[in-house]
Symmetry: C2
Subunit: 192 residues, 2 copies
């Protein structure tokens, strides 16, 4: 399982062999079955998670009881709830597997120690935060400004690989539109 | 103008006198009149901005030509477009003053140099990014999951001080609802 992560680090960073070994050896590999929960709303997010294989989602439950998906995290991505992780407070979000998944977990104390010991890992960490920050703003702007049709078109362009892996109700819960509206949009596209 | 910023730094950080002096002396004070633009969509975001006095907004224009506000930035806050600033690419957003404002600007090379020279400033910078990251997620979740009534209620709770300083159409453009809907919600509240 660590080979994928090893390749990821070699591609994205200038970490040397011994640093990579140090990071890998601190990780705990975990297998998740389909629909298994990694972080439950109300629990403290105690780990950084790297997705080696599979697909996870992070979502919250609205006042009306419905699920709203913040992000999908496929292989070669990280996931966590930053608020719960950094402040060690109960999370208002749930992280769960959509497919059978293989992930690597680092506890906060372990990852903090790695960040302290390996400056190059701090650079990667800052790049990830910046990238996440940028995509958050982009997603907020799309959510505020786009019509349902534009939101779906944008999703198809941005995540072509995810389309076939996701049930429609999850795409609707990500776009912030009803399943009925999403179905109508897709039918209209097929007819065009 | 730098007294406010000086107090802010002494409150939020453990920076010493000489470090504060170094940061302050690299800042360029700028006065903005009402509605004046600090960053125009299409320009590169070349500065970090601290708001000493007044109120700014960062917004984008949707495909239908309407304004969508990402954030309001009152005094004692920072603003920038992180994507444009970090990648030095044209911004898709505009930053403008809502009120007469006094701001401090640092060019990217100057701020990068300060970050390199002053580790304590890096800590503040990381805290700000983490906080911004957290509030982005919160805002995204509220935008996805809440009814217009809940969005307005949430805004009143979160920014009680801003209510009287903002025209209604800007609150609507921030909440992602029409001015008509916002007016209806406010009338219903008054009647209750």
């Amino acid at each position: 399982m660590t080979t994928v992560f090893d390749t990821y680090l070699r591609t994205c960073t200038n970490l040397n062999d011994s640093e990579i070994e140090q990071i890998v050896s601190a990780a705990k590999p975990v297998s998740l079955h389909r629909n298994e929960t990694l972080l439950q709303q109300g629990q403290v997010c105690r780990h950084k998670t790297f997705i080696v294989k599979g697909l996870l989602r992070i979502y919250g439950i609205g006042a009306d009881g419905s699920e709203h998906i913040l992000y999908f995290s496929p292989e070669n991505n990280w996931t966590l709830d930053p608020e719960s992780y950094h402040q060690q407070t109960p999370s208002q979000f749930t992280i769960a597997a959509i497919e059978r998944s293989e992930v690597l977990l680092w506890s906060k104390p372990d990852f903090d120690r790695l960040l302290k010991d390996i400056p190059e890992l701090t650079i990667l960490s800052e790049q990830l935060v910046t990238r996440s920050h940028i995509s958050n703003r982009q997603r907020l702007f799309t959510t505020l400004s786009s019509t349902p049709e534009e939101k779906y078109e944008n999703f198809v362009q941005t995540f072509p690989d995810l389309l076939a892996r996701l049930p429609l109700h999850m795409i609707a819960a990500y776009l912030g539109i009803s399943l009925k509206t999403l179905t109508r949009i897709r039918h209209a596209q097929v007819r065009r």
